[in-house]
Point group: C2
Chain length 189, copies 2
């Protein structure tokens, strides 16, 4: 997706440790026009698929999922990372390790909201080690739902997540794949 790559190059930033920062338009401040372009792009990539529901994970996945859901005309469900008094007792759960935060947490989805036989599209902002996406895939499988595919805005191609997900035969659509960050410059695939 060329407009996204351009945005990453012009408005993205590289922190000292070669971390890619897109918090000016994607995961802290959010550019709604860009999000709509992203939503349309996901729709065009999964145009011939029947999607019943979009599944994402809090927090930054939510923005992308809800805007994208408008193009599919389906509801969104987001997995919870944090304990919530209001969450149902009956949940599908998966354990996810975050390398960024160096911690392990349990993601949960109420059993009411992912049903057997439903066609689920997983949407998230970033794919790096892919542990969050794998946790969502695990929940789709536990529910006996059909996984249509995984759509991510930015894939870090130099980490293992994308490879691992594709190896499982899962359709992965990444709107921008970053191959490496070198001397403060982003190189796309």
């Amino acid at each position: 997706m060329e407009s996204l790559k351009k945005k990453i190059l012009t408005d993205g930033a590289i922190a000292n440790d070669n971390v890619i920062k897109v918090d000016s338009f994607l995961n802290h401040q959010i550019d709604i026009d860009l999000l709509n372009e992203i939503g349309k792009e996901f729709k065009s990539r999964f145009l011939n698929e029947r999607v019943d529901k979009i599944l994402t994970i809090e927090a930054s996945g939510i923005a992308i999922a809800v805007i994208t859901a408008q193009y599919f005309n389906v509801p969104v469900v987001f997995a919870k990372k944090t304990e919530s008094k209001n969450l149902d007792k009956e949940t599908y759960e998966s354990i996810v390790h975050s390398y960024t935060r160096n911690m392990t947490y349990t993601i949960k989805v109420s059993k009411k909201y992912i049903n057997k036989g439903e066609n689920i599209l997983i949407i998230d902002d970033f794919l790096a080690n892919g542990k969050a996406a794998e946790g969502l895939v695990d929940i789709v499988n536990q529910a006996g739902a059909n996984l249509i595919g995984v759509g991510v805005v930015i894939e870090k191609g130099f980490q293992e997540g994308g490879k691992n997900i594709r190896k499982k035969g899962i359709r992965l659509e990444s709107l921008a794949i970053i191959n490496k960050v070198e001397d403060g410059k982003i190189i796309f695939k």
Copy 2:
């Protein structure tokens, strides 16, 4: 907002301890059509105001804020509740106590994304004790931005948040105000 009240009555649930659950359409599974109605309603309530940016807080505020932002044609900024490696060092911070979770946490917004003189509309899903909203107001004030008002989807009228915010002279627009929950029944204002 009549369609919202109807939705709360038909699809909302009351947990044993008189907790109002709207996780089937607002804060776990998300009804995108309803969210668009909510976004339009916020736009009509703040029609004559110049809004430069919408400020919300992760996680469930994000869905409402981004859909609403489409009607104002402005970006969204969401305050972070959790530590993030990617967050700037220079942040506006406010301490928020959550009665629901019985914990105190620090909310943070990068100083880059709320600027002096900007017109800010705060949007969130629930207003109960109002501590999260007050934390967001505090951040707007720290930044020297102009607070246009606060828009919430559901106000729990039997808790103090709404009263406290209105007492400060802040314009508060609540799309549904619940006066009480009695014998498993929701009574609107």
